[in-house]
Structures are given as C-alpha cells and as structure tokens.
Amino acid sequence: MRAGAAAHEKDVRAVAALALLILAIGGGPGPPDEPPVFLTVRQANPRALPVDAPSASVSADGRYVAFVSYARLAAADTDIGSDIYVLDRATGNVSLETFAGEQRVSLRPRDGTSPHISGDGRFLVYETTEMDEDRIPLSAVAVRDRRKGTTELVRVRGQTPNGGCATPVISADGRIVVFSSSATNLVDGPDLNGSAEDVYALEMRTGTIRRVSVDGHGRQSALGASYAPAASDDGRYVAFVSTAALESPAPAKSLTRPQPNVYLRDTSLGVTTRISVGSGGAAPDGNSYQPSISGDGRYVAFTSEATNLASHDSNRASDVFLHDVRTRTTTLISRTRSGDSANGRSMHPAISGDGRGIAFQSDASDLTCGRGCVSANDDMNLVADVFLFDRESQTVRCISRGRAAWLEPSLGPAIDGGGAVVAFSSRHPVDARDVDDDFDLFVRVLPTLREPQGRASRRAAERE
C-alpha cells in the first residue's frame, strides 16, 4: 500500500510537472502573462555604443539564423574579429561560416558583417574585407554555399572590383545576390557617377551582373549614390536607397540637396518607382532609408524622417512606414494605439516574407499603450526595444521583453518568411551569470500570426 501510494504520488507529481512544462513553453491557451521563450547565443558585441544595424538574418523557413558574433563559439574560431555563424534551430548547433582563405587577400584572418541567408538556409552572403593589389583594404562580398562548403568572393569576369562591395542580400531562392558597390568596373560602359555607390544584381548561375540603381529608361544618374538594397524572394524586385533622382517621369525640378529616398526597381519590366512618397504622391520632406521588402515585392517597409508621408506624424523623429506598391499607399506603422506618432524614433524595419509582420526597433515608450498605460506594460527603459507590427490586426507589440519590460536596449531585428521567428541583439543578460556589458543574440518564436493562440504556441514550442 505504501509503495502504491508513493508510486501514485510520483505519477501525480510527474503529471503536474508535465502540465507546468507545457504551460511554461506556451502549449495550450495558458495565462496571458506566460513568459516568452528565447533562444540565446553569445554575440559579445563589444561596442560601447549600441549597435544599430541588424546583425542577424533569418531564413524564410525560420530554421536558420545567420548572425555576427565576436565570441568564439567554435574551436576553429581563433581570431578576435567578428565572424558569421549560423544557428540551426532544429539541431541547436551553430556553425562557423566565415573563412578568409588565402592570407594574401584577407585583411584579418577572418571577419564578417551584414549576413543575409537564403530561404532554405543553403546560401549565405556577408560583407568581409580584402586587400586590393595596392594592399588597401576594401570591403568585399562573400557568397557561401553551406551545402558544398565553399565560399567565393564576388568577382566579375575574373576581375577584382576596383571599389568596395557592401551590404549584400541574397534572394530567397538563392539565385540573385544584390549589393552596393563603389566599383566602376562591374558592368560595361562608363560609370557616370564615378566612385559613388550603385546597386548591382548578380545572377549566381550565369555570373551575369547588372546595375539596378537606374531610372525607368535604364539610365544611371550622374549624381547621387545608391545603397542598402533589399530583394524580393525571386530577386525580381529590388528596393534600395538613392540620393539620385530616379523616378519616372523625372521630377519637374531638381532637388536642391541630395536627399535619400527609397526606390523599387522591377528588374523584369525595367520600371523604377519611388517608394518614399506620401499617399497622395507627395515628395517627402525628410530622408528615407533602410528598406525591407516582402517576398512578392508588394510591400516595402522603410524608415523616414519625413513628416508628410502620413497624417498624425508630429514627433520630429524617424518613423517606420509601410508602402503598398499595389495601392500606392503609405502607412505609419510605428504609432501608438490611438494612431498618433510615437514619442521616440523608430528604425530598422524587417518585413516578413508574407508581408504581414514588420519588426522594427524603437526608442519610443508609448507604442503599445500610450497614455493611461498600466504599469505592467510600461516601456520605461529609455532605450530601444524591438516591436512587431501586425498588418492585419494593425497592432504593435513589444517582442524584446519578458513578463516585465527589460531595462536593457534591444536592436536590429530580423524576421522569417511567416513572421513567426524574430531575431535581434540585446544587452539583456542571458542568465544570472551574464554580467558582460555587451549585446547577445535573442531568437523568439512567436505564435504564427494566422493561427489561434493556443495551437500556434504549441507549434512554436515544438519548433523549439
């Protein structure tokens, strides 16, 4: 009897523990304040100032997260520079992906920044540094095939670019690599703007490269620079920033000073459209930059300092906007529940492949509640947090927090194709032992936006 009672008690304890575990990882409806679960990896970003550029990229299927780390996460990592790693959420392993190869061309044994990963995680592009023939360091674009284990630096017709190549992105299907470059020898013909940056698209299979930052007639502007590209899933649509006037038809009067605008190039139809416009077609009265494009190219999220892109923008700070290419409408998404502009700057949008979720960072404290905020929701850390805007429900919620708000800054979000996996960097400690004053990678799996809370949570937990 005693043994039986003990066994029963043990069973009850086991069931209770299982129930608690399910609740803890988000299975079932659960209480609304259940703590979120994050995967964390050391990035050990030593910068005293907060990094404000995204240092991670999530594959469209959400399985792989490419990220920059200064920590030595693998035995082969023997340098002190920044490396690119890929986290496989299915196995829980991270793999070192940066490899400089020949010492002759590398400035440092390894270094890598600005990673971007293809939809299935096979291909990875990142920015690295090489020496040119005169031993001058140049930024270069590396393309890695993770299945074959090969890494290539972008070359054109066997030639080293005679200028730096930077901020690469790869289309989800892995066919097209888009990057900015100040080189003048990447395509035939004269480079009208000289060493000012242009945006190029490289077809990986054929090695064909073309300049994307051109107007509707395919002409390059002699003035201005183009940079910070983003590509749709098949690489057909490329969004980028340019200080050149590329819209068609050309503006009636030239700009008095170069102002960065966001453009979208349809590489199939050869059409270039300015995205940073008010819904009535108004020219912006401030700089626009940091575009992020949905998989089908319909939605482009971007940051703008303009005050006339949407109504209710009165905060005199950068905001995040969403442009619908089909309807030609621009919407302020870094806004309070009442629709007003937020009380701090917002930037670095990352749109999911399906165009529904837009993650961004913001210094604002009133995005999720505003006036009359209950204290539990207070965003009082005075520094940046990561938020997610749901285009369907038109709501904003904070991703970089537990049940209570974090005191530390969180920056540079990246998001997968379905809006279920968000990665960002945060100085929030990963546990009680973490007293390092640096940024680490946090990956949060969210209930997918299209599913009911309980089922989606369970699925997210299973993916963990």
Partner: protein
C-alpha cells in the same frame, strides 16, 4: 572567375576544380568539421524569478568609491542581486567613469533621500557623485541612483525625453533635475532581489 575558399581542399576541388593548392590554405582550413560547429552555445532563456544560482561575489568596481559605512552593504547587495551585479559590471567596464557614494542630506530642496550629480568633464571622463541620506532604504536607493548613471552611459537625453509625453522621464525643479521610471523600477527590482535573498538566508 571566382576565387573559392573551402573548409577542406578536397571538397573544394571536387566542387569547383580551381581551388588554391592546399599549401596555400591556412591550417584551420583542414580542421575537422567538428571544430567548425559550436555545441552547447545555444541556451533557452525563460524569464526566471526563482533564486539565482550561487555565484562568487564579484569585487566592488575599482572606479566606485564608497564611504566605509556603506561598503559591507554594497558587498551584500552584490551577493544577493543579479540586477545590482549587472549595474556594477557596467560601471566597472566604463573606464572613463568615476563614481563616489557618500552620506548626504537632501542636496535639493525637494527632500529627496538620494540624488546623483553627474559631471561630463572636458577630458571625456565622467564623475558621478551619489548622495544618500542616512537611515534611508539603501538597497533601493543605491540601485536607483546607479541606474541614473547607466542612463547617462546609454546616452539618454533626459531633457529631451522630459519634453515629450509618456516617456517615463519627469523634470523637477524647473528642469534642473530629472526622475525616471527606469531608475525607480531598477531600484525596486534590486531591493526585491535582496529581500528574497535575505529570506533564503543567502545574503
């Protein structure tokens, strides 16, 4: 054509056929695959309000000067509160910062039990002088004032934020001084962690 780098020369040759000779590859290019994989570097993080693991108490930061009467209490806080440990770690890492904590009556006319005066010097260094009234709730107030110092390390423009609504920053005494929800929350959090540790008998 493209310059190709591989982890293993054999794989590289098979894939492309134009790889550099193996002798040109650095040693780590021929490392076993396991060396390129980091195991046990991914952690699952769930907000945890349970007791922190027993940790060695870190030393008081070398750039933090305390009156002797506060020294034992601060050491106790370091042992009991993860949040306070992180505050002190940030202070310790800020080599251009010097912090002093001393007794002080209310330096302002508001009767506040604690205050911090932060001076940015022309040589780039920062001097933070914390004054805390005797008999005050030291745990909460020290952490509260330290958070104000961290706000400045974060580059927070308190005056600008105080001008906007609902930022959690409030100007007092005509904009000469500021109070923040962040410092209040940090102070309370540390006090709570210290109380919990004391209840456990850990500090």
């Amino acid at each position: 054509m493209l310059r190709v780098f591989c982890r293993t020369a054999a794989l590289c040759l098979a894939a492309v056929g134009i790889a550099s000779p193996a002798s040109a590859q650095p040693r780590h290019a021929r490392s076993p695959a396991a060396a390129w994989t980091g195991a046990n570097v991914v952690r699952v993080y769930v907000e945890d309000e349970t007791a922190p693991p027993e940790l060695a108490v870190p030393p008081i930061p070398s750039n933090l000067a305390l009156v002797p009467e506060y020294r034992d209490r601060v050491i106790s806080m370091l042992g009991a509160s993860p949040t306070f440990r992180r505050q002190c770690a940030r202070i310790a890492n800020a080599r251009h910062l010097s912090v002093s904590v001393a007794f002080g009556g209310s330096p302002g006319i508001t009767g506040d039990p604690a205050s911090t005066r932060i001076v940015f010097k022309p040589d780039g260094t920062i001097q933070a002088d914390v004054r805390i009234a005797p008999l005050a709730d030291l745990d909460e107030l020290v952490a509260h004032e330290f958070e104000h110092i961290l706000e400045q390390l974060d580059g927070v423009d308190l005056a600008a934020m105080a001008r906007r609504a609902d930022t959690g920053v409030r100007a007092i005494e005509g904009g000469e001084r500021f109070e923040t929800a962040r410092a209040i929350a940090a102070g309370r959090q540390v006090a709570q962690e210290v109380r919990r540790a004391r209840r456990r008998g850990g500090a």
